[in-house]
């Protein structure tokens, strides 16, 4: 294995990690702030992809505009789902079970909705022409689009860091993760915060759906397929831990990427192995602060 190949494989892992993170970040954000596990998160990813397809391939709009619209639509739909449905089950005994059932029903409904509107054939979305080539440097070839995806992923990380640390909204979101009751006593509209966070997270999923569409097949059922890998990332990072999700995505991406080279026959096993070991030895997540354990 020569050096340039290692670099190529590292970049491949990074591409995978970026998509994993972009989906998992919303999932973990919703869990962190509202203790809701949104099983249907992948379906908002799928809806985004289809709306992007509609704008870009059917109506011939600019790719970036389609990306924006896909995100916006998924975000609005997310807010509707939270406001009219999820909100009704907060605080029930056994809320967890209801969350899974309710969000699972969203998956089925959204899958069928997509089938009604767009049919079951595979849909395709073209890359923006400027990004369709590849960058080649010293024997290393990387598609321009993959570089753009990695850059967008990094931009989201930086933007999220800035928003969460330096804005009032970010501080409210973090506070709501720690103590919802106290926050509402201080005069913050906590339910509204939750709806907004849900909207932001699902919008992110929708945008990721459009971003991934030129590399994947847009198909009903895509939602349930991406949720498993994202779930691994969320659990590894520590449920609700935004930065943990980022590190976990990087870990899974790279482990997978090198497993494919070194043990191709068992490559798919490794991400699950990492998760199983984590659940046994550090169930609060690889990157969660230690204190949780001592409670």
């Amino acid at each position: 294995m020569d050096f340039s190949f290692i670099v190529v494989q590292l970049i491949s892992g990074l591409t995978m990690a970026t998509f994993l993170f972009l989906i998992a970040s919303g999932l973990t954000l919703i869990f962190g702030v509202g203790k809701v596990f949104n099983f249907a998160h992948g379906s908002f990813f799928m809806i985004g992809a289809y709306v992007g397809y509609q704008f870009s391939s059917v109506w011939g709009q600019n790719f970036w505009l389609s990306l924006l619209c896909g995100g916006l639509f998924a975000g609005l739909l997310g807010m509707v789902a939270e406001f009219f449905f999820l909100r009704r089950i907060y605080g029930r005994a056994d809320e967890g079970g209801f969350q899974i059932l309710l969000t699972y029903s969203f998956i089925l409904i959204l899958d069928d909705l997509v089938k009604l509107v767009w049919g079951t054939e595979y849909k395709s979305l073209a890359k923006p022409p400027a990004l369709s080539g590849a960058i080649s440097m010293g024997g290393i070839v990387v598609p321009t689009y993959n570089v753009a995806v990695i850059a967008i992923g990094l931009a989201v990380v930086v933007a999220a860091w800035w928003l969460l640390n330096n804005t009032r909204g970010g501080r409210i979101a973090r506070a709501s993760a720690l103590d919802r009751e106290m926050l509402s006593v201080l005069g913050v509209n906590v339910p509204m915060t939750m709806t907004l966070v849900f909207g932001i997270a699902t919008a992110l999923a929708g945008m990721t759906g459009v971003l991934a569409a030129p590399l994947r097949s847009v198909t009903p059922g895509a939602g349930i397929e991406v949720i498993i890998d994202s779930l691994i990332v969320v659990v590894l990072g520590g449920l609700g831990n935004f930065w943990g999700a980022w590190l976990a995505a990087l870990l899974i991406g790279e482990v997978n990427s090198f497993a494919i080279v070194l043990v191709p026959k068992w490559a798919t096993l490794f991400s699950y192995l990492v998760m199983a070991l984590t659940l046994i030895f550090k169930p609060e997540g690889l990157f969660a602060p230690r204190k949780v354990r001592r409670v």
């Binding site: 294995m1 190949f5 190529v8 494989q9 970049i11 491949s12 892992g13 591409t15 995978m16 998509f19 899958d111 089938k115 079951t120 054939e121 595979y122 849909k123 395709s124 073209a126 369709s132 080539g133 590849a134 070839v141 598609p143 321009t144 689009y145 993959n146 991934a212 030129p214 590399l215 994947r216 097949s217 198909t219 009903p220 059922g221 895509a222 397929e225 991406v226 890998d229 997978n256 990427s257 494919i260 080279v261 191709p264 026959k265 490559a267 798919t268």
Partner: protein
């Protein structure tokens, strides 16, 4: 009060359905109970199969049916789940009194249903599902398959590679396919056939992403490092789309010949990818919308298009042919109830199909109950006759049906 009314209306409903079924029972019918998936990733194959089977039934019924019997085709969403499909199949037999079990896309469902068919002595006409063992080690008297199995595709593939070596010498092969039975069977069968036809090759890598993997980047860069002359692929459906989209900007298709003889040439792929499908890929499928260039095939494709507004994926032709196989067998026997006589009629049944080229007629091999068909492998070329696809297959290479059946050594190697 309300509950009494509810009970009364329920009774009325039951009465009505009872009258309806008895009214139907007076007409002479051949009941076909199908189990195609209508949801999930394979939903498109199910929808196309049902549309094509209904088309065949309408055609046959319009001509007065088979031996005076009208065809009645019913489908239940199999959800591609074996255990669920078994329950439905048993209900078909006990309650609906079907004459034939029919269909299925997934080989896992096929393997489960062939057991029901064997126990209940009910003929099962298999379409689309391709696991070779159904007509080799798991063969039972009441199972017949009217679309080709992976062995036939791979035998044709091996012959293609053999010819290729004469014009464009190649040495190394890598394989990528989904990590489950279908993916593994294809490469095993290709290797067996390459050996059988005396083709020398060196395997430089086997890659096993999971089914429905969404990100192939790391696989692609790994394959490029292995530098195979030929990249054999065993994907189906959206996985092929995702793989090709992700691999194209890396220049993989300029460095290795992409070779995908079982499901690569399915129309869904051609239509989904449009201009982004690279030229020069070597693909095939179980039916092609533009080959053979016969009146029957053209007629079939255009009728399907008229009925559904889209061109068919290959699954559709299997279902279409399956209904005709039943009609032909019933015509021979004179009724759809004498199962043993129908089995005899189906064994060796020979009838013209849309995918038969001029001068050849497909037939069911009496020994293996497997349809024997000509295989065509093509190369992606520009062609806008079947929109939204802008590439179709061309530069066809044709392989004789008799060369593609599993030989005795294969059956011996794969005993039950």
């Amino acid at each position: 009060m309300a509950s009494i009314r509810r009970i009364a209306s329920l009774c009325l409903l039951l009465l009505l359905t009872g009258m309806l079924t008895s009214a139907l029972a007076q007409e002479k019918v051949i009941k076909i109970g199908a189990l195609y998936p209508m949801t999930g990733r394979s939903g498109i194959y199910g929808m196309d199969s049902v549309a094509a089977a209904e088309m065949a039934a309408e055609e046959i019924n319009a001509k007065g049916g088979a031996a005076g019997y009208k065809i009645q085709f019913i489908n239940t969403d199999s959800k591609a789940k074996p255990d669920y499909s078994v329950t439905v199949a048993k209900r078909y037999i006990s309650d609906d009194k079907v004459n034939f079990l029919f269909g299925v896309v997934s080989s896992a469902v096929g393997l489960a249903l062939t057991e029901v068919s064997k126990q209940e002595k009910k003929i099962f006409i298999g379409t689309d599902h391709a696991a070779t063992e159904l007509t080799v080690q798991n063969l039972q008297p009441y199972y017949f398959r009217v679309s080709n199995n992976t062995f036939q595709s791979m035998a044709a593939g091996a012959l293609y590679l053999k010819e290729l070596a004469q014009t464009k010498p190649w040495k190394t092969i890598a394989y990528i396919g989904p990590d489950y039975a279908y993916g593994h069977a294809q490469i095993e069968e290709l290797k067996f056939n390459l050996d059988r036809f005396g083709v020398k090759y060196q395997m430089v890598g086997e890659f096993w992403p999971k089914l429905f993997e969404s990100d192939y980047t790391s696989y692609i860069t790994s394959i490029m490092q292995a530098k195979p002359d030929i990249l054999v692929s065993g994907f189906w459906g959206g996985d092929t789309v995702a793989f090709i989209k992700q691999a194209a900007p890396y220049g993989l298709f300029e460095k290795s010949l992409y070779f995908h003889p079982d499901a690569g040439g399915n129309y869904e792929l051609l239509s989904a990818m449009g201009d982004s499908l690279p030229l020069g890929l070597v693909l095939s499928a179980r039916h092609h919308n533009n080959w053979p260039d016969t009146a029957m095939n053209k007629d079939y494709v255009s009728k399907f298009h008229k009925k559904t507004g889209r061109y068919p994926t290959y699954a559709a032709e299997g279902a279409y042919v399956g209904v005709y196989a039943i009609a032909e067998a019933v015509k021979k026997v004179g009724n759809p109830d004498d199962t043993e006589a129908l089995v005899k009629a189906l064994e060796g049944l020979k009838f013209q199909q849309p995918e038969d080229p001029e001068g050849f007629t497909s037939y069911i091999d009496p020994a293996s109950h497997q349809i024997v068909q000509v295989q065509a492998i093509g190369v992606t070329v520009p062609n806008t006759a079947f929109p939204p696809a802008t590439r179709m297959l061309g530069q066809w290479k044709i392989y004789k049906a008799e060369d593609l059946l599993p030989p005795k050594e294969w059956a011996a190697k794969n005993k039950p």
